[in-house]
Symmetry: C2
Subunit: 176 residues, 2 copies
Amino acid sequence: MKSQGMTVKKGITLLRETELFKGLNEGEIEKILNLCKEVRFKKNETVMREGEVGDELYIVIEGIVEVAKNLILEEPADDGNLSNKVFTKLKAEDHAVFGEMALLEESERTATITALTDCVFYKIKKFNFLKLAEADHELGYKILLNISRIVSSRLRKANEDIIKLTTALSIILKES
Amino acid sequence: MKSQGMTVKKGITLLRETELFKGLNEGEIEKILNLCKEVRFKKNETVMREGEVGDELYIVIEGIVEVAKNLILEEPADDGNLSNKVFTKLKAEDHAVFGEMALLEESERTATITALTDCVFYKIKKFNFLKLAEADHELGYKILLNISRIVSSRLRKANEDIIKLTTALSIILKES
């Protein structure tokens, strides 16, 4: 990765504190840093779009992004209704990572990410991550244990949401 | 694990064909087999109950189980209404595994599993799996890559269900 002084220092600190890289020692963090490509997006630029196929993970190093997720199928093109989407803001200080499922499989993005300020990210490509993990299984094991736990806790949350939604539907259908 | 002739042979074959152990070589499958404890359940016995905390994974070696999952919150005790649950049948031939999220974290079971016939399972405890994976990172890495991909594809499916449910809710609420 091209060295850029303060940004690199901030990058190392953020990598260390990111849930995805929990438990990694200094040498391992350096190996991860070597995979990272620094990329910059201007305010209002789209980083990734829901539904597009991607194979890169992003770590927010500087700035704030917006995560927007469709809640409704086949939203009409002329419908600017914001209530059909959920929005979340993520900041560098939150140790925000997105697209981490792309490290496991090339797959459709599950949200649209927009830069709300000028942003700096570290980008890691699936191919490079898997190559490193194959060469250093201990490192690969640690990161995959972290990813599995993150994805597993999201699945739990999604299953709870499904139960809430089917409960709401069942109440409405009984009342109607 | 206690050797039981044909069952062990069947066990090895099933472990090899299970998505969770995809890509493992013979020696690695043997190490997994050494973690497995053979357990038997009689027809109609409950193997695990939704909501209970567990730290064991089960692999179906012989027999058929039923997976039942609540779809509705706080089901009334006197309500035997089957429409509040979803049921799935899993057979040994399906290379059925359940409770695999327990390898990652001690957590609440997300479904109730009942033996529909006399069943034989292999049971693996989280502690023993993590101990083996820490001692053999290559093996740990391979299995975690498989688990991550399984959980990630389930998360995708759950997210699709959430979108379908919110779409249905939005249509009903607009019409009412």
